[in-house]
């Protein structure tokens, strides 16, 4: 996989993951171009399209589009299910995930994706093992955090 994007129906990018280095300028251009193409498509259309020299696999969940760019010989259907599995992971973790969860906890969305995919290839397809890894990390986090006053959090202290 070359990259994965999450964006809203309004064209706001919520998550971007690049598995092949390219310049920021080029990335922005690709994001803009691809969002335009995907957002223009109608609901019943097929989930695959050829774009530049890549294949794009996308699926819409509520207000969010999940969009993967894969190589010519990669399997489209399994990529579609890879998106679904990622959504399931987010759902399980956040408990009925919505776009706001991903906005406010973008770092978590990244961590979950990293546990699931690495270098553009699937690392583990088992929902259990991915979530176990994330939960362990959360445990470590909770141990770390010392309680703080609200004022301090607001940067007023």
């Amino acid at each position: 996989m070359r990259f994965m994007l999450l964006f809203s129906r309004q064209g706001k990018l919520r998550l971007q993951k690049w598995y092949l280095a390219s310049s920021e300028k080029e990335k922005k251009k690709m994001v803009r171009e691809l969002m335009q193409v995907v957002l223009a498509r109608k609901p019943k259309m097929c989930s695959f399209l050829e774009w530049r020299d890549l294949k794009v696999v996308y699926k819409r969940y509520a207000s969010l589009y999940f969009c993967c760019a894969i190589e010519g010989q990669d399997n489209e259907l399994i990529t579609l299910e890879l998106i679904h599995r990622y959504v399931e992971l987010l759902d399980k973790y956040f408990g009925s995930v919505c776009e706001l969860d991903i906005i406010f906890n973008f770092e978590k969305a990244y961590f979950i994706l990293d546990e699931f995919l690495m270098g553009g290839e699937i690392q583990d397809t088992s929902k259990k093992s991915v979530l176990k890894a994330i939960e362990q990390a959360d445990l470590l986090q909770e141990e770390d955090e010392s309680p703080r006053s609200v004022l301090e959090e607001m940067g007023l202290a």
């Binding site: 280095a21 906005i103 406010f104 973008f106 770092e107 397809t125 986090q141 959090e153």
Partner: protein, 1015 residues
């Protein structure tokens, strides 16, 4: 503020995100962000040392701002500091920031690498995981250099935890993709292969990805993975849906792993071991069977996962292309999907069938679905699905259904989406040409194309129709009539005007007998379009007019009036003005004879790869069109000879794209090849043609700025004769190979004998009463012609022998031109072809005797039809005997018919090449020669020679870009022999190493001999 479900550690961050979301305008957002950036900056710069938590929070805010699309130019240092924190979450945020924001900033990379090194050495699996993720995310060369050696050790170490193994495998994969040179193969590779047997399916999944990528480049190293992958796959497909627990996805056992294993197997040919092969066939059958079973769940995830495996299995079946039964089953399965209610499945079925169409086993089965596909073209609501349908129609097209498919595509073109029109136009043009039995159909189709989608008809398409009309005299009259009729439309596309202008300029005379299309009517019709056209078209029309002056002297004055008008002679466009001036002048001063020569009909174009096909390849990128085409060609399915002809030698490749650009100069003497004038002292004729430029220069010396055509004049000096087709032939030489063709006597230039030594002198030197045992220049002549097909074979003071030949598959035709250089008749002129007994059985030559009298200064042509029965080593001998001035002459030369002439180039991807290379690893199949360079070692020349040799030149196949790699198939009547070659130059030593691998020992040997002499 919405509730944050977990990890609600950074309230400040949540507040900030809320603020941003509440901003009513872009300006407000930017203001808020700038405020925050100022705040963070001051915190980072402040005197008070920040604690880890605050650092983490601010770094996270920066990350958020960056992800909103704003530039971030600070905070990197703080992020790097977080890496060395002992707190997991701080480290994690630090790594995230670096993964997202760091490019190869060398200063930082050193620090980051240090932190990674510490974490990798920590033996703490969570920290190791973070470090490996960071390497995989950044993946820069610096990181590859620092860690590519270390990661394989982690991967295969016995005590590494499963989760770390998974990360290490994929991390290594990522590094190998960007910097393969830093990833050394070694002992670890065999241990990695054995991870396919691991108990943990997550480890197997990650390892399969890694092995697949590595095996593509190093197939030999990972060969053992085939049997392991097969047994793993077999265990998965036969398992019950609950056996694999969490690795079962919606009742499908381990779909990801299955897809990956099937992908890995596509790096290799079908397993050699019969047991493994049998087991794999069973697996594939099971997968096909499962597709027919009722679904275990109504959820789309279930069917998607199941079909993902099915499609990958079909890809493997197509890749192996060896089990007709499986191929046909796959085709039937896809046929069902063509009418499935899921758009996704219809799309994929169309896509997958495209590749099936190129297999000889399933081509016919694919064709049975033609009506469904045509229907898809008409009814699919999604353009990307329609596009696939067009592709499939193109792929399934052959002679039997070409008319229907072309008609449907033309139909569709009227309403097609703008985005795919140009491609459809190219495809229609290619199919129409390739499968044209009747060229009137071809002409009609192209004119229809221009009518329906004129804007999308690229130059290549209309150049091509002109090339074909010029090369085929059976269609010229029809073409003239048809364009004439098409031009009657009040509004016609400019491309039609171009084609019409060109064709009428060449062949308008063929319809001028009909009073309804008399010369004047033709001219008026064209001229009525003139003022509506762009400058290049008008320039073309001016050339048509001057050609009319020659074709139709009766309208010369009308044309001169037009040329003379101010709008032409004083046209603001320099090109138009120049043409008007030059053509007017030419029509006024040149005699009818000169006009007739200068403006004679264009000679046939040399056959070469269709420029349209080249364009389609370029458009679709290599690997899509190319592969299909090449595979088809390779398998020798019924590809019409019309389109892709034998590769022509280097000198003809350099033709201009356009049949007419620039001005008259090029129209008559441009780099278009001229009819052969083989006599070396072709002064007079040559001058008639190349003589035009000086004529022009003399007349119009007042040119102030060098115009485009002034440059073109220089082209008159381009090498003209040797590469051109003979004057008497039209179209591809090979279309009617083995049919009768009378010898043609072409007059030599008058006065040429002045250049020759006296007959006495000549005869004293050349005359030989000896029989044919002195063969001139022996093999050197052969070597001269190995990489080219045309040129002067032999010359002395009496006789010149020229050659022009063309080969396709196992057939060829050679024109031999005998030029009498003297002014005296040759009598009893008898050329004889001599083949040894051995050669006779492998090479069939047919020719007719030539006229026994060759007049002084005349040229005689002899046609030899050649058929290669089986591979051969020697060359036939051409013996010529004649009487000249009372003395008997006997000359023998070897005729350069060499095995490589029957080469058909084959394009293939790197992976395929090395796979085949490995397959041909018997010592008898390989022939190697190391030799000193005899010529300067120039890359471009070498490339041209390899192409001239007949094989395809494969770019980006050899990991060393300095090496040359080629592939092709030797066609003989009895068999086809696949050939691979590799030439490795060593500039320092001025040496080459040439390696040939073919499926036949004698072929390897002969090709190696022949090619070694070329460099």
């Amino acid at each position: 503020m919405p509730a944050v479900s977990k990890g609600d550690g950074m309230r400040g961050l949540a507040v900030f995100i809320s603020d941003i979301r509440n901003c009513k305008s872009k300006e407000a957002e930017i203001k808020r962000i700038n405020k925050e950036l100022a705040n963070i900056r001051s915190k980072f710069k402040g005197d008070k040392a920040l604690d880890g938590y605050s650092k983490k929070k601010y770094v996270c805010k920066l990350l958020f701002i960056f992800l909103l699309g704003h530039d971030i130019d600070f905070g990197h240092m703080e992020a790097v500091n977080l890496l060395s924190s002992n707190r997991y979450t701080e480290k994690q945020i630090g790594y995230l920031f670096i993964s997202v924001l760091v490019n190869s900033n060398s200063e930082l990379i050193r620090l980051i690498n240090n932190a990674i090194k510490n974490d990798l050495a920590s033996r703490n699996p969570t920290f190791m995981g973070l470090a490996l993720h960071c390497i995989a995310n950044v993946g820069s060369r610096e990181m590859a250099e620092a860690f590519a050696g270390e990661i394989p050790k982690i991967l295969v170490a016995g005590d590494t935890m499963d989760s770390v193994k998974q990360s290490a495998a994929l991390c290594l994969l990522r590094l190998y993709r960007t910097s393969p040179d830093f990833v050394p193969m070694g002992d670890w590779t065999s241990r990695v292969v054995h991870l396919l047997n691991d108990q943990h399916l997550g480890v197997v999944t990650a390892a399969t990805s890694l092995i697949t990528t590595l095996a593509q480049k190093n197939p030999e190293e990972f060969k053992t993975s085939v049997s392991l992958a097969v047994s793993r796959l077999s265990r998965i497909v036969t398992s019950a849906s609950t056996d694999l627990q969490d690795y079962t996805y919606y009742f499908v056992p381990a779909p990801w792993l299955s897809v990956k294993l099937l992908r890995l197997l596509q790096c290799y040919p079908p397993p050699e071991d019969a047991a493994v092969r049998g087991r794999l066939t069973e697996c594939l059958e099971t997968i096909l069977n499962k597709a027919q079973e009722p679904p275990k769940s109504k959820k789309v995830q279930h069917s998607n996962a199941k079909n993902a495996v099915l499609f990958e299995a079909i890809s493997l079946i197509i890749h192996h292309d060896s089990e007709p039964n499986l191929l046909v089953r796959a085709c039937n399965q896809l046929g069902q999907f063509l009418q499935h209610r899921e758009t996704n499945l219809r799309y994929l079925a169309l896509e997958s069938m495209c590749t099936l169409a190129s297999s000889e086993f399933s081509h016919e089965a694919v064709k049975t679905h033609i009506e469904t596909v045509i229907n898809a073209l008409k009814t699919e609501r999604d353009v990307s699905v329609r596009q696939r349908a067009v592709d499939l129609l193109y792929a399934m097209c052959d002679r039997s259904n070409a008319q229907q498919i072309v008609a449907e595509m033309l139909n569709y073109l009227e309403t097609a989406d703008y985005s795919i029109r140009e491609e459809i136009v190219l495809k229609v043009a290619i199919l129409a040409e390739k499968y044209a039995v009747d060229y009137t159909w071809y002409v009609d189709t192209i004119l229809n194309l221009i009518r329906i989608a004129g804007d999308y008809v690229s130059e290549e398409v209309w150049y091509r129709v002109i090339q074909i009309v010029i090369n085929r005299d059976d269609v010229q009259g029809y073409a003239a009539k048809t364009v004439f009729e098409a031009l009657q439309a009040p509004a016609c596309h400019e491309n039609l005007v171009k084609v019409g202008g060109y064709i009428l300029g060449e062949f308008g005379n063929l319809i001028a007998g009909d009073p309804r299309s008399s010369p004047l009517i033709q001219f008026n019709l064209l001229h009525s379009k003139f003022h509506l056209c762009s400058v290049p078209t008008r320039a073309l029309l001016l050339s048509t007019y001057i050609k009319f002056v020659n074709l139709f002297p009766e309208i010369k004055t009308t044309i001169q009036d037009v040329l003379r008008s101010d709008s032409q002679l004083k046209n603001a466009d320099v090109e138009l003005q120049q043409r008007a001036v030059e053509y007017l002048r030419l029509s006024t001063i040149a005699s009818t004879d000169i006009l007739a020569t200068v403006l004679e009909e264009m000679p046939p174009f040399p056959e070469r790869e269709s420029s349209i096909l080249a364009k389609l390849k370029k458009k679709k990128g290599p690997g899509t069109v190319t592969d299909l085409e090449e595979i088809k060609k390779e398998r020798n399915s019924d590809v019409n000879g019309g389109t892709e002809s034998t590769p022509v030698n280097a000198s003809t490749v350099a033709l201009p794209d356009s049949p007419l650009q620039g001005s008259l100069a090029e129209l008559v003497i441009g780099p278009r090849p001229r009819p052969s004038r083989l006599n070396s002292s072709h002064l007079a004729i040559h001058n008639l043609q190349t003589g035009i430029p000086p004529l022009f220069k003399g007349f119009f010396t007042s040119k102030s700025t060098p115009s485009p055509s002034a440059d073109l004049l220089g082209l008159g000096a381009a090498p003209l004769t040797s590469s051109s087709p003979p004057p008497s032939t039209t179209g591809s030489l090979l279309v009617d190979v083995f049919s009768d063709s009378a010898s043609v006597v072409a007059p030599l230039a008058p006065g040429s004998e002045d250049n020759f030594a006296s007959p006495d002198l000549a005869s004293s030197e050349v005359v030989s009463e000896e029989p044919a045992d002195t063969v001139h220049d022996a093999d050197e002549l052969i070597h001269k012609f190995v990489c080219k097909n045309n040129g002067v074979l032999f010359e002395n003071q009496l006789l010149q022998i020229g050659l022009k030949s063309e080969f396709r598959q196992n057939l060829g035709r050679m024109f031999i031109f005998y030029g009498n250089k003297t002014s005296t008749q040759f009598l009893n002129f008898t050329p004889t072809l001599i083949c040894s007994d051995e050669l006779q059985s492998s090479l069939n030559l047919q020719t007719k005797p030539v006229d026994p009298t060759v007049d002084g200064g005349a040229q005689v042509q002899q046609v030899v039809n050649i058929e290669c029965i089986s591979d051969f080593m020697e060359a036939p001998i051409l013996n010529i005997q004649f009487r000249y001035g009372g003395t008997f002459q006997n000359i023998s030369v070897k005729l350069p018919i060499t095995l490589n002439k029957f080469f058909q180039p084959t394009e293939m991807a790197s992976q395929d090449f090395f796979q085949r290379w490995k397959q041909l690893s018997n010592p008898q199949q390989e022939m190697q020669n190391i030799f000193k360079a005899k010529h300067p070692m120039d890359t471009e020349i070498t490339k041209a020679k390899i192409i001239g040799f007949g094989s395809a030149l494969l770019e980006e196949v050899d990991p060393n870009p300095a090496n040359f790699v080629g592939a092709g198939i030797i066609h003989t009547k009895t068999t086809q022999i696949g050939c691979l070659l590799r030439l490795e130059p060593n500039l320092q030593a001025q040496m080459y190493r040439l390696t040939l691998r073919t499926s036949k020992e004698t072929v390897s040997q002969r090709l190696c001999e022949l090619l070694s002499e070329q460099f």
